[in-house]
Amino acid sequence: MNPNNYLILAAILFTIGVYGVLVRRNAIIVFMSVELMLNAANLAFVAAARNTGTLDGLVIAFFVMVVAAAEVVVGLAIIVTIFRTRRSASIDEASLMKY
């Protein structure tokens, strides 16, 4: 199979992630969509590593996983605090500051 197809798949996954961020209201799901975008990037890195025959992409994928894990910790912490304060995980309700 043409390895470029993996890059295309990664782009599709990334787009799905963007779409999720834009349309979903639940903070957790928005957050998962962001994670999907990161993992789409990971897929692209791995596919590119295979394509180009270098190892950098594989190493990067591991780094990104670690960073994503850290991001999950921080993100969930923030979402949970907000949930406890507002009793809601809707990101549209957090819109006191505008204009």
Binding site: A27, N51, V67, A77, R86, I91, S95, L96, M97
Partner: protein, 522 residues
């Protein structure tokens, strides 16, 4: 392959990150009453030490004594950590600026005389706003010290960000300084709801933008089979894979332009600046912007330097939008912090002029502008934090009426900062704007400079409006007052004011410094 680590060159970053780890341990093992003084000393000492190392490295560099790969030709800049980090002239200047600002901002974060209840941060961030728990902790005078390890990691990340020489290091650095910022943003003592909202917005949009950055890096990697800036630059010259490279450049630009707060990636700026604890806003508006511009400069000068004819028009669009929309929207703001946030967006546009010129003059003028703007910005937000009434900070513009009569000194210094932001001669803002505009004209961006001048004129009006409000209006009867801060804030404001004036009257030594810093290593 022999792996070597150039400890001296990397010392500033290592010191900050190690202190961060140490600081976590302090948090875990030292009794509560001792934590605050120890943490504070740790923070200040590590920043001073790191700064000392930056100075030592820079002096060695100027003396032509290469730090790392001994015996290289004089003037050749240094690559460290197997080429992942570039400690070159501009990099060290930016590190120096970040450390100076971090020191001043740390003083602001540590201030606890302004708010009668304690410092600017929630007594315990885990308690619900308005709950019985929170009241008790506040009544007992709890002060949380968790912000300090976060702060140290954040500064460490900021130091790494502008000297990263490949996309992976840059991405990691980006997250290392962003994650602590998201957390500290949610911890304001007053108006927690706004504070948490700011953190949520900052986090979601920040993660969104860094995903763009990462995907862009993946595309560049797919096209050039490397993430190292110098290799990427060489590979791009001969590459035919435009279908990957052009979207890659665009997506990386999205990630970096988000961090500098350029239009149309600016919408987080006002909300986050308004909701965050004011000392943190002071820090973010200055240090984060400096580091992000450092990274932006490096990526677009080194990695994409050969493609500048491709990305320049894109930057033109962004710069024009930033200047126009930033100035335009600041006009109708009624909240001081939001107004300053939009002004910061407009300043991003001005600084982008320096980036666009892609010349030695463009680089040095951008560095100068960053130093000038950083200090003015810290100072301006420091003063915003001082004007308070019973419910906390009084940030509505109407509450600032007649401040010049009640507190002439503070109002005068505030006016000085505003004049500097407006770019009035004899302040640092003028010199900075001037240098950047000159570089842009030399770089063939005269139309942009004309837009910039018009935007500055619009901007001058809303700064002047605040000055008029402070000095020529009667104060409201039950208006807020200026709190007398402790020595910490006084020193911070004094330093910022001194820089603002000095860089306006006698900028030449600093201009010489940034010019001598030379170019990025390729």
């Amino acid at each position: 392959m022999k792996v070597s680590v150039e400890y001296q060159a990397l010392a500033p970053i290592i010191i900050l990150l190690a202190s961060g780890v140490l600081s976590v341990l302090v948090e875990a093992f030292i009794p509560r009453t001792l934590r605050r003084p120890i943490q504070l000393m740790l923070v200040l000492a590590s920043i001073v030490l790191a700064f000392a190392y930056v100075v030592i490295n820079a002096t060695a560099e100027l003396a032509g004594d290469p730090l790392v790969n001994g015996g290289q030709v004089k003037g050749l800049r240094e690559l460290a950590a197997s080429g992942s980090i570039a400690i070159d002239g501009p990099g060290m200047v930016i590190q120096g600026i970040i450390l100076l600002i971090s020191f001043v901002a740390a003083l602001l974060l540590a201030e606890r005389q302004i708010d009668p209840q304690g410092d600017a941060f929630a007594s315990r961030s885990s308690t619900l706003p308005g709950s019985e728990d929170e009241r008790q902790f506040t009544a007992q005078g709890w002060l949380q010290t968790e912000i300090w390890p976060l702060y140290l990691f954040c500064v460490g990340g900021l130091l790494l960000f502008p000297v990263s020489n490949d996309f992976l290091t840059m991405f990691v650095a980006l997250e290392v300084f962003s994650l602590p910022l998201y957390l500290i943003a949610s911890m304001a003592r007053r108006r927690r709801l706004l504070s948490q909202e700011a953190a949520l917005k900052y986090f979601i949009l920040g993660a969104f933008s860094s995903a763009f950055f990462l995907f862009g890096a993946a595309l560049i990697y797919a096209a050039t089979s490397s993430v190292n800036f110098s290799t990427v630059a060489v590979a791009m010259e001969n590459s035919s894979q435009d279908g990957l490279i052009i979207p890659g450049i665009g997506m990386i630009a999205v990630g970096l332009l988000f961090k500098v707060g350029a239009v149309p990636f600016h919408q987080w700026v006002p909300d986050v600046y308004q909701g965050s604890p004011t000392p943190l806003t002071a820090f973010m508006s200055a240090a984060t912007k400096v580091a992000a511009f450092g990274a932006l400069l490096r990526v677009f000068y080194v990695a994409f330097g050969g493609m500048r004819w491709d990305w320049r028009p894109m930057m033109w669009v962004v710069a024009v939008l930033s200047m126009v929309i930033g100035s335009l929207l600041a006009v109708t703001q009624t909240d001081m912090k939001r107004m300053l946030a939009f002004s910061s967006v407009a300043h991003t546009g001005f600084i982008l002029l320096g980036v666009i010129s892609t010349s030695a003059a463009g680089l040095s003028s951008t560095l100068f502008y960053l130093l000038a703007y950083g200090f003015t910005s810290v100072g301006v937000f420091a003063i915003v934090g001082l004007v308070r009434d019973a419910s906390g900070e009084a940030t509505h513009l109407s509450q600032w009426a007649g401040l010049g009569k009640k507190s002439p000194w503070i109002a005068t210094i505030f006016a000085l900062f505003l004049l500097a932001l407006a770019g009035i001669p004899l302040t640092s803002g003028f010199t900075g704007k001037f240098a950047v505009f000159t570089a842009a004209i030399d770089g063939g961006a005269t139309p942009l400079v004309i837009v910039a001048v018009v935007a500055s004129a619009v901007a001058a009006f809303f700064y002047a409006r605040v000055i008029v409000l402070m000095f020529f209006t009667e104060p409201p009867v039950d208006g807020p007052s200026v709190v007398v801060p402790s020595a910490l804030t006084t020193v911070a404001i004094g330093t910022s004011a001194a820089f603002t004036v000095l860089l306006g009257i006698a900028p030449q030594p600093v201009l010489d410094l940034v010019i001598n810093a030379g170019l990025f290593i390729r």
